[in-house]
Amino acid sequence: MSVRETLQRWRYNYIPDHLIGEILTKRWTDSAIPFLALVITVAGFGTAINGFFKPASLSDSTRQLGEFSIVVTGLTIVMLGGGIDLSVGSIFALSAFAAVSSLFIFDLPVWVALLAAVSVGIAFGALNGFLIGYVRLRAFLTTLVTFIIGRAVYDILVVSFASQVQLSDVTSDLWDYIGDGTVFGIAISVIVAGVIALIAHVALTRSRPGWHILAVGGSRRSAHNAGIKVRQTVFMTYVISGICCGIAGFLFACRLSGAGPGTGLNLEIMALTAAVVGGNSLGGGRGSIVKGLMGAVIVLVMTNGLIRLGFGTGTNQMVLGLMLAVAVTLDIRWLKNRHKVLNEVYVAPIYQRMGETQSAEPNSGSPYALNNNLAQTHYIGLGELEGPEDVILDEEDNLYCGTRHGEIIRFFAPDYKRSEVFAHTGGFPLGLAFDKAGNLISCVGAMGLYSISPDRVVTKLTAETRRSWTSVVDDARLRDPNDCDVAPDGRIFFTDSTKRYDAHDWALDSIESRPTGRLLCYDPKTGKTTTLLDNYLYANGVCIAHGGQSLFFAESWACRVHRYWFDGPKAGQVECVIKDMPGYPDNINRASDGSYWMAWLGMRTPSYDLSLRHPSMRKRMTRRLPQDEWLFPNINTGGIVKFDETGKIVETLGDLSGISHPMVTSMREHKGALFVGGILNNRVGRLPLPNAKPDWTGIRSYWGGAK
């Protein structure tokens, strides 16, 4: 191995590049930028302003923060539902006025003042909600207009009644306590804000109405099609926002015991900036209460800080405008390009050196030398099938295979001309096996392990295993269950090919060449799934050996076959029985003479083997070229290999014409014939085997003669 290759191996195999992509798939990365902004803002102003963190200085700002964050919480809920509420400033001011006038003019108890403030909020929110939810007006303009109306009403009221409020001699201890008091040193408004935020957070993340809001914001039409009452949900978000503004207005009134011309001025642009800076998406569906709160702190610290640093009139608006523009632009660009960035950085190739292999050239004299036998197959279901990854036959000789459309098709013996949809599983049914009771067990790609009873009832057996401690992306979920087989005691052994890619991106796993495949076991007695072996390079076909104590499984991209003992004296041991094959192995199945059939889904090529030794080249390729032009492993020619118990190659079948079976992913021997499936083929092939036992069937080999 040259120095270059050693360095490349160290660089690409020991530095975990793939974690960047995995971390980017996490939703919490959305919050990372606002959180960073929060830290920088607080630290920046904390150092620039003397005594910023002194209790006296904090006390007034935190009360203000309490009120403001309640408003922001309401606005966040509206935005999550796909709307916007610019009238918050007016509702806030009107509610504050309602509270003040209830107490000081009409001399009513404090709780009536609170009720008055909240009622104003509800009424105003209901108006907005009705117009936007039920009349379906544009949220922005409608709330802009209701904002002006509210402001006009408020200005009229203040001019008419402000003097009465000021001349009033009503006092209330409770009122003053709410305004100035603390509980355990925390201002009342902050406690109220915390409680409201907590309720809102729990409601949004863990309750049906909250999910409905997120669903409507995420996709209005889909939410409607799913039976969610879209208009009512939209209506409710504005009412909630109104209530929040009402409570905030009440707290403000208690703090200042009055309402003047400046009350709630510019609150809408502040709250909007806060919600967006925190990372809540315009257009809805993506965001959280916590993000809103982070934004609220950033905006308030910034505006208050600028005032205390002595910047003049207009600075606030300049900064708010700038923050809003930057945040909205970043948010929209991020939302638009996130998946592109993810696509670019997700594939993180590693160094992989394939071993020297023997030739597969016809007549080369090596055991892998391909013949042309597969070109002579008869076709079954030509043009009716798409993607029969695996095929299997039952005791009545009927043929079963999965299709790309998530169906399992049954062809009827003896001529296999008639077919029917045996069952619909969804996903992409891959590996098939019969258990003792005659249930058809299938590894359904992208879904999990399923069982289909003879009367066609589809049951999920398992879709998850135990999560590993070091995983970033949850690897408990089975991403690409590929092949399965049933042990004599009923345990089902199956493979999950990769933790990094979904089933349809299986070829990308080869470009990355990172071993993440697993061998798993599902025990029907306990219903538990355990991970037996991990970190194989695309674990694929599984076959229980004739002895019933061990199994063979294929490691596709490494061109190896391993044997794992699950019973007997060597239980738990694993050994490599075949290595450095010239083809990529797929499913393995029993043969009638006590050996095993194994499919090659493709053949190795010198160019691709070379590229595996150049991870930097593969990385550049995935970043700079469109996917259509990437160098992929060759999966256009394949073959079938027969090997015996010791791993010695007995026979190799090929299709030199490339017409009948360009790729083979599975084959099944049944009564003197071999049935051949391929995941990219549009047919199943049937190849007579003159030397095979004419009455041998897989089911009898597994479960004995009588059934």
Binding site: G82, G83, I84, L131, V135, R136, L137, R138, A139, F140, L141, T142, L144, V145, T146, I148, I149, R151, A152, V153, D155, I156, V159, S219, R221, I269, L272, V276, S281, L282, G283, F311, G312, T313, G314, T315, N316, Q317, M318, V319, L320, G321, L322, L324, A325, V328, T329, I332, R333, K336
Partner: protein
């Protein structure tokens, strides 16, 4: 003619025109001093600045956008211009700098809308706040900036032709030019196509994004012109106008005249009809001595009714509406 066909011929523009005529007749009969030549000139004069601003807004709205920064650009560009003149910058220099700044803001608006795909409402809300805040805090010293004595702006304000103030003619001229642009030039027709269905327009090969830039630049320059006229009649520019309801009056003129906010509809006729109705109403309310605060309430209520009617008559097209288009 059946009743049904009468109603089917009633689009918003005709309704508004009918209401304007009705209000005009009622005001003429009931209000003293309404139907005089001086007052009528007054009406047109009072709406000319509003109308000019509405022309810019109309062009943007027809292209399925909105420009909430118009008033900020109008007030702050002129305020800075006057401040520079007051500080002794040469005439030509001050004008060039101001025009460059106006162009820059228009381009920035257009760029964010066209190339960053940010909804125009947010872009212009943010840019309006920024323009106001930046000019107010960094460039000028007081809320109101006076016009220097004997400056051409002052002379402009005193110009009369046939006894009618010059801004009326300017309003007419701008409306006429905008009409020619929208109706008879290739790029003017593109505004409609892009507003009606941006994706289809783009597929046709229309340069949708550069066109967006152009519209916001036009809007910014029209706002600057309106600001100069305001300064010429008041002999100063008060930057507090940014926080007033003027912006909503502009939207009101456009929407009430029948220019659908969903884009692709309307023209200069609608601006004239909307401006006349608003002018007549404002004038009547002033003659009736309704306080400014109540006028605001009445205007905003009318605007609400107008957008409700607009929403019912021009329901949003869910097929071409984008996510985040709120």
């Amino acid at each position: 003619m059946t009743i049904r066909s009468v109603f089917s011929r009633l689009d918003q523009e005709r309704i508004v025109l009918a209401i304007a005529v009705l209000v005009f007749i009622i005001a003429s009969v009931t209000l003293n001093g309404f139907l005089t030549a001086a007052n009528l000139v007054n009406i047109v004069r009072s709406v000319s600045v509003l109308g000019i601003l509405a022309v810019g807004m109309a062009i943007v709205i027809i292209g399925r956008g909105i420009d909430l920064s118009a008033v900020a650009i109008m007030a702050m560009s002129v305020a800075w211009y006057l401040q520079m003149l007051g500080d002794g910058t040469s005439q030509a220099m001050a004008l060039v700098i101001t025009l460059a700044a106006v162009l820059a803001i228009g381009l920035a608006n257009g760029f964010l809308v066209a190339y960053a795909d940010v909804p125009p409402i947010f872009v212009t809300l943010a840019s309006g706040a920024f323009v106001f805040g930046f000019v107010r805090s960094q460039l000028i010293t007081q809320d109101a900036v006076p016009v220097p004595p004997q400056h051409w702006i002052e002379l402009l304000g005193k110009t009369r032709w046939l006894g009618i103030p010059i801004e009326v003619f300017l309003f007419t001229a701008i409306v006429f030019v905008a009409f020619l642009f929208l109706r008879f030039t290739k790029w003017g027709r593109y505004v409609y196509y892009a507003g009606d269905n941006p994706m289809a327009a783009r597929n046709l090969g229309i340069p949708v994004r550069p066109m967006l830039l152009l519209r916001y630049v036009i809007s910014a320059f029209i706002a600057f012109t309106a600001g100069i006229l305001t300064a010429s009649s008041l002999l100063s520019i008060n930057t507090r106008v940014v926080n007033s309801t003027l912006l909503y009056d502009i939207v009101l003129v456009a929407v009430i005249g029948g220019i659908g906010l969903s884009g692709g509809k309307g023209g200069m006729r609608n601006v004239i009809v909307g401006a006349l109705l608003i002018g007549i109403m404002l004038n009547a309310m002033t003659i009736l001595d309704i306080p400014n605060l109540y006028q605001n309430l009445i205007k905003s209520t009318i605007l609400l009714v107008a957008i409700i009617i607009d929403g019912v008559l021009n329901p949003r097209d869910e097929q071409t509406a984008q996510q985040g288009d709120i």
